[in-house]
């Protein structure tokens, strides 16, 4: 027992191992670069620091993207130089356009590091040649050579010393997600069987969505560091998409059951018990296929049908609630069937993913669509670069010179991926670590005899800084990268080492200047205050939801115009990414200092917004032509009035007053519930005429169910927003 304990005590933590690997890699690259007498060995060190990530897959991914980005930036740089060799301003404008497009794409890209490297390497080469409007071939090649050295050395160390492969993480996350989905479904099914009321559980929903995101990351990482996963990466990606679709179906099911569970769903829908048993069996089978390596039993098609005679006894709202539950159950059945196929594909290298050609569509839509947040970040980066460049040109003897332009570009580009970071905190920590490096620079380095002692110093310094930065900020934080990089710039290890107090203080001043310029640029074109951006995204989501709800009654001729399609795509994109954007800004809010609302209220607002966004997505997808085929004019008119009122309320909540008097809106808001209460009995009769009319009736009932859900969520959000002080919440603060 004592022996086991002492063995455990001797084991190094993962953080210590990663710090050791980084320190060893850094010492090795400096030894090689200085041994070959290469200029600027810092570039190799820079590559090592940036490539060192939480696991092997992430490190290798970054390494590949780094080298591709460098090559692409080199080509771009030479092209711009060739176009504008003699004109400083045109050259700078072309450079700005290049950086702007990189910043724009990086914010929604899967290959963020590629775009980051593309963005700043071009300036790095320009800086290396003294900003003389030429990006020399030699400098470019040297940069690639040293980056490659850093990547190869770190890659070898990461693979050979305590490799932290992502394969285990992938197995763990996929099993975890399947188990969470199974439990989520089980809890919904239990309520159906016991006829208990189902309540939407925001914490469980967020947990499911987060695990989904983790699975996507784990698939990407494991594809890079595991040959087995690389071989069947398409199957794994397909599995990721299908698992996401199952999660969405489960969320929809819970939302629909919140309306219908008390009715006794199994009384009105036939074959629910068999359905439940079958779906639970499917979850168990998929889990077995993923964790146990066996093939899952192929599932047959199953369709839950309503008992028309019994349903006629129900009110309109109840019928609608039942319609939406039925659709959700059938959707879940389809998605679990695809999930089984995707899990089996992994085992037998199947190709069922070929039937889902639109899986990456949302990604490309998001990448290319205009997004105000992304455009804002582009402006911030450009303002930073131009302030620094104009200062370099017109302020005589400016400290740092072109280095300021370069470092501003690097930090601003990284900050554009994580705008919620606290600039002041980052600045303080970076300056603090630079000050801590002073004793080494002034007192230790001049007394070192050779590379062995210098190597020891680099190792100890890097290990300590990396260990504490990982613990305090995490392996992927921007502060960790900066506190590791800046002292390296100050030390500037090379074969002809010089020590100068002026150079050292200049670097500290450069750092201060950079953060001052960033402080100015971060508020242009609009503030990067997390609370304000949170509210802005909430407004944007509500506004887009309103537009999508209202567009249901747009004339057919108008729908074919290109502008109209772009307009709709923009709003669809906003509704799709709303969850990520809002959570993203919420991360930047200091939870202990929220004003104008409580933490609970903020969580409730987010959960309601997500529910509204989900229902709006469903509403948009309902086939209106089938609905219009059966519904009489009176019902369509009710639907039209409902759309108008819901749109008005959403516009009102999104802060657009639009000349709406609040009392008239409140009256309209009460009316909104009665509007949806149309008589559906005659509609149910029509369902028996033909297949087309059956689909039409089903669609109309589904539409009513969705409107019912939206009404409930809107009612709650309306009441909640009246008790919130958004103005106080969005107040600017200094610290």
């Amino acid at each position: 027992m004592v022996k086991i304990q002492s063995e455990k005590a001797l084991q190094l933590s993962r953080n210590a191992k990663e710090s050791f690997k980084l320190a060893t890699a850094l010492v090795s690259v400096y030894a090689i670069a200085m041994g070959f007498n290469w200029e600027k060995p810092f570039w190799a060190g820079f590559a090592v620091i940036v490539c060192s990530q939480a696991n092997l897959g992430q490190s290798l991914n970054r390494a590949i993207l780094w080298i591709l980005g460098t090559l692409f930036a080199l080509l771009g740089g030479w092209f711009i130089v060739a176009l504008f060799p003699q004109d400083r301003w045109l050259f700078m404008i072309a450079l700005s356009l290049w950086v702007a497009s990189c910043v724009y794409f990086l914010q929604r890209s899967r290959y963020q590091y590629f775009w980051i490297t593309c963005g700043y390497v071009i300036l790095l080469l320009w800086d290396a040649t003294g900003g003389d409007l030429s990006i020399s071939y030699e400098e470019g090649i040297l940069r690639v050579q040293e980056s490659l050295l850093g990547i190869v050395v770190y890659g070898l160390i990461a693979v050979l010393v305590w490799p932290n492969c992502s394969r285990g993480e992938l197995d763990k996350v996929s099993t975890e997600l399947l188990e969470k989905q199974r439990l989520f479904a089980e809890s919904c099914f239990n309520r159906i069987q016991k006829q208990e009321k189902v309540e939407v559980r925001p914490d469980k929903r967020v947990e499911l969505l987060k695990t989904d995101t983790r699975l996507r990351t784990a698939i990407d990482d494991a594809s890079s560091d595991s040959y087995e996963i690389w071989e069947c990466r398409k199957q794994w990606n397909h599995f990721g998409y299908r698992a996401e679709a199952v999660t969405q179906s489960l969320l929809k099911l819970e939302e629909s059951l919140a309306l219908s569970s008390e009715l006794g769903v199994s009384k009105y829908l036939s074959g629910v018990s068999e359905y439940i048993e079958d779906v639970q069996h499917r979850f168990a089978q998929v889990k077995l296929a993923i964790s146990g390596g066996e093939l899952a039993d192929t599932a047959g098609e199953r369709n839950v049908q309503g008992d028309v005679e019994k349903i006629k006894e129900l009110s309109t709202f109840q019928t609608a609630a039942l319609a939406i539950t039925r659709r959700s159950l059938n959707d879940l059945e389809v998605e679990t069937r695809s999930l089984i196929d995707s899990a089996n594909d992994i085992r037998r290298m199947g190709r069922s993913y070929l039937n889902f050609s639109d899986e990456g569509g949302a990604y490309w839509l998001g990448l290319l669509m205009p997004d105000p947040d992304r455009l804002g970040n582009v402006v911030r980066v450009l303002v930073g670069i131009w302030i620094a460049y104009l200062a370099y040109l017109f302020v005589p003897g400016m400290i740092g010179g072109l280095l300021v332009v370069l470092l501003i570009t690097v930090i601003a580009i990284i900050a554009s991926v994580s705008p919620q970071i606290r600039l002041f905190e980052t600045c303080i920590y970076t300056i603090l670590v630079c000050l801590m490096s002073a004793p080494l620079y002034f007192f230790v380095m001049p007394k070192l005899q050779g590379f062995y002692s210098l190597g020891l110093m680099i190792f100890v310094w890097t290990f300590i800084v990396c260990y504490f930065a990982n613990r305090a900020f995490g392996a992927q934080s921007m502060i960790r990268t900066l506190v590791l990089i800046f002292p390296q710039i100050i030390f500037n290890f090379n074969d002809y080492q010089t020590y100068s107090f002026v150079v050292y203080t200049n670097y500290i001043f450069v750092l201060a200047i950079i953060f001052c310029i960033l402080a100015v640029s971060r508020n242009i074109p609009f503030t990067s205050h997390p609370e304000r951006n949170f509210k802005k995204n909430v407004n944007r989501l509500l506004n887009s939801s309103a537009c999508l709800i209202l567009q249901g009654d747009i004339p057919e001729a108008k729908r074919h115009s290109m502008l109209y399609r772009l307009y709709i795509l923009y709003h669809i994109n906003v509704v799709f990414i709303a969850y990520k954007c809002i959570l993203y800004w919420m991360d930047g809010i200091d939870k202990s200092r929220i004003k104008g609302m409580s933490r609970y209220q903020m969580d409730r607002v987010i959960s309601l917004l997500m529910l509204i966004a989900n229902q709006v997505k469903i509403l948009y997808r309902i086939d209106k032509s089938k609905m219009n085929f059966v519904a009489p004019k009176r019902m369509l008119r009710e639907a039209f009035i409902w759309r108008c009122l819901a749109g008005k309320i959403l516009f009102y909540l999104s802060g657009k007053k639009r000349e709406v008097h609040i009392d008239s809106l409140r009256r309209g808001y009460r009316r909104i519930f009665h509007r949806a209460n149309v008589d559906v009995n005659e509609l149910m009769e029509m369902g028996g005429y033909s297949e087309k009319s059956r689909e039409g009736v089903s669609n109309f009932l589904y539409f009513l169910g969705v409107t019912h859900c939206i009404n409930n969520y809107l009612a709650e959000l309306f009441h909640l927003s009246e008790s919130l002080d958004w103005e106080r919440f969005c107040e600017e603060r200094f610290l």
């Binding site: 402080a519 100015v520 503030t527 107040e731 610290l735």
Partner: protein
């Protein structure tokens, strides 16, 4: 009451006057910012980070001229 520029000795370490006044200026600006936050006055400023920088410069010059000597 203008002071003659001179290095400031802290425990035998000689620090340049601009460094000392800069440090004091930043600390005073942070204190002011904290007070402005406390009394909800920060909402009247369009760009708070620029205000902190400006306050730091004003205080640094003030301390430099009046107390330290730059």
């Amino acid at each position: 009451m203008e002071k003659i520029p001179h290095d400031v000795s802290v425990g035998g370490f000689y620090l340049s006057p601009i460094l000392v006044s800069g440090l004091l200026g930043v600390l005073a600006a942070l204190l002011t910012a904290r007070l402005l936050d406390r009394f909800r006055l920060s909402r009247y400023f369009a760009n708070p980070p620029v205000v902190i920088i400006s306050l730091s410069v004003i205080y640094s010059v003030f301390f430099g001229v009046v107390f330290v000597g730059i």
